[in-house]
């Protein structure tokens, strides 16, 4: 099994590096934007940073939203590429004849996707710590005044794993191209539905009031003061993801040969 995992890591080393460096890269881009902003206006770097890192009415710091959420989204999408490179009939038949068999090959992919999520998680945590240091050095913020998303990162990892647990069997059964088309149709449908709702449906509030409410709810939740059923719901989601990921692996093993039969080459 170690050999197969090593093979996956070697083949996808660029994606793994990208998962690790995405968050600091986002921070660098943000600082570049701040620098450009300060050069184009009369503001000093400190003022431009203060202006851009906290977004007016919203209590959520823009810098953290940008540097912590974006890496999860991008690496989540990238993680699906690791299936495309092995989509040949020859490799599929070789895998089936391998002593570790289909189970070993699929297991290695599942482990790699989990590893990518963990690398993103660690990288985002370090980047947040870097942002805290910048806030302290540039804006003079103290430990108690800093907003941290650290408590939300494990949930983002679980959301990513949850989405992958649905994606992977589709990709294994229909191949990356067709699997992606099925997924895009589903997500596209949901997206169009959301836009229609945003245009014509009743919205929960104006001027970012909805986001402020979400943030308030998060603060209550973090303090352990939310209703009991919310903790049960979240715990249920986490355990569903853990067991779901395992069953998704089992399902993918079963669908593997059917998928191989459909490859072009």
């Amino acid at each position: 099994m170690t050999g197969l995992i090593y093979k996956e890591m070697r083949q996808n080393r660029n994606v793994l590096w990208f998962s690790g460096f995405m968050a600091p890269l986002c921070l660098l881009c943000f600082l570049g934007m701040v620098l450009l902003g300060s050069l184009n206006t009369d503001l000093t770097f400190r003022e431009a940073y203060a202006d851009m890192s906290a977004d007016g009415d919203l209590p959520l710091p823009m810098i953290l939203t940008y540097c912590c959420i974006v890496p999860f989204l991008t690496t989540g999408l990238l993680s699906l590429n690791i299936f495309a490179q092995d989509e040949t009939k020859k490799w599929g038949y070789f895998t089936a004849s391998h002593p570790k068999g289909i189970q070993g090959a699929v297991y290695a992919k599942y482990v790699l996707i989990f590893l990518m999520s963990i690398i993103t998680f660690v990288s985002v945590t370090f980047t947040e710590e870097l942002v805290m240091l910048l806030d302290h050095l540039i804006l003079g913020k103290k430990a108690g005044e800093m907003v941290s998303y650290a408590g939300a990162f494990p949930f983002l990892v679980f959301i990513q794993i949850f989405l992958r647990m649905i994606d992977i069997p589709f990709i294994i059964r229909f191949g990356k191209k067709r699997g992606e088309s099925v997924k895009i149709m589903v997500i596209g449908g949901l997206f169009i539905g959301a836009i229609v709702y945003a245009l014509f449906g009743p919205l929960p509030g104006e001027d970012g009031e909805f986001f402020i409410r979400v943030y308030d709810w998060w603060e209550t939740f973090k303090a352990g003061a939310a209703q009991d059923w919310i903790y049960w719901l979240l715990a249920g989601f986490l355990w569903l993801t853990i067991f779901g990921y395992y069953f998704s692996y089992k399902l993918s093993c079963k669908l593997y040969m059917k998928g191989v039969e459909q490859y072009d080459k």
């Binding site: 805290m132 240091l133 050095l137 430990a143 715990a235 986490l238």
Partner: protein
């Protein structure tokens, strides 16, 4: 034939790096920005070398001594060992249960109504489910320590000192390694008799006890990850979930145990640790640890069964 001298040299080199890489930045940061600013505050990013010092020491020692990566224990080893991953989450929970129930029975009084008035059963079980699922994800925080102490130090120490010696001396080393934090009140505060020496001694005792379970998990699973998970479950507050069982202490926000009280509450866990040490000694007798020798061992003559086996392979 075994050769203890190179192993001892490797161990000493490892300890030099593990202490040096952790203590030098920790002492500098303690003196310049202050403990509260680097351990949880804005300078936390500079504290990272301290978290990963034992892992870095493992890597550097292996590189310098050209030891290679045999027995690095750096693999998941799920197959047949999943139960140790589950135990890694359960053991800190059991520790919390034992110590909090002991605290109530010895220093408080058992009042189930008070417990329920403070926290509902639904909230208690909800928190357990949430923490059990989430805490293992944070294991990268403690991986650095485990990849040093359990994946290197214990493996080098056991053939030299035996299982009991490794548990005790390894625990003391691990406890003393935490001293830059203990002297700043990280573990037990600063307001106690014998500060900071008693804190360092108690931290060593705690590390001996905790080290038993971590060593047992590592040896049984053949992987470093269950130990890293158990360590983070302990640090992330899984034992604290069982503060549910505290009663007779008034407001729990203000309740703090003294070091002697902590020791008394630790006794059941200490007994459990003794049982696990016995398991390790028993397993060790079945399978003696083998030291890497500088001279290649003589190859034993093939037995009749081996020859028969070879013959069968050739004919097949």
């Amino acid at each position: 034939m075994t050769n203890k001298k190179p192993e001892l040299k490797r161990l000493l080199l490892f300890l030099l790096f593990a202490f040096g890489i952790a203590w030098i930045p920790a002492i500098i940061l303690n003196e310049t920005v202050g403990y509260e600013n680097w351990f949880n505050g804005p300078y936390v990013i500079f504290g990272l070398p301290t978290l990963y010092a034992p892992a870095l020491a493992n890597i550097i020692t292996r590189k310098i001594t050209k030891e290679g990566w045999e027995n690095s224990l750096f693999h998941l080893n799920f197959k047949g060992h999943l139960k140790y991953y589950v135990l890694a989450v359960l053991l800190p929970f059991i520790q919390g249960l034992l110590s909090n129930v002991t605290a109530t029975l010895v220093y408080g009084h058992w009042d189930f109504h008070e417990m329920l008035a403070r926290q509902s059963l639904s909230d208690y079980f909800g928190s357990i489910l949430l923490m059990f699922a989430m805490a293992p994800l944070l294991a990268w925080n403690t991986f650095g320590e485990e990849f040093g102490w359990r994946a290197y130090m214990n493996q080098k120490m056991e053939p030299l000192l035996g299982t009991t010696g490794t548990v005790i001396i390894g625990g003391i080393i691990w406890g003393v390694w935490h001293a830059p934090l203990t002297v700043k009140g990280h573990n037990f505060g600063t307001d106690y008799w014998g500060f900071p020496w008693l804190g360092i001694v108690f931290m060593s005792v705690w590390c001996i006890v905790m080290g038993v379970f971590l060593m047992w998990l590592t040896k049984k699973s053949g992987s470093i990850f269950p130990a890293a998970i158990m360590h983070i479950c302990n640090n992330a507050g899984i034992p604290h979930l069982n503060r549910f069982f505290l009663s007779g202490f008034g407001d729990l926000e203000e309740y703090e145990q003294t070091i002697p009280q902590m020791f008394v509450c630790m006794i059941p866990y200490l007994i459990l640790a003794a049982v696990f040490t016995y398991f390790m000694i028993r397993d060790g007798k079945k399978q003696k640890p083998v030291l890497q020798s500088d001279e290649p061992a003589e190859k034993p003559a093939p037995s009749a069964a081996d020859l028969q086996n070879d013959e069968r392979c050739l004919t097949e």
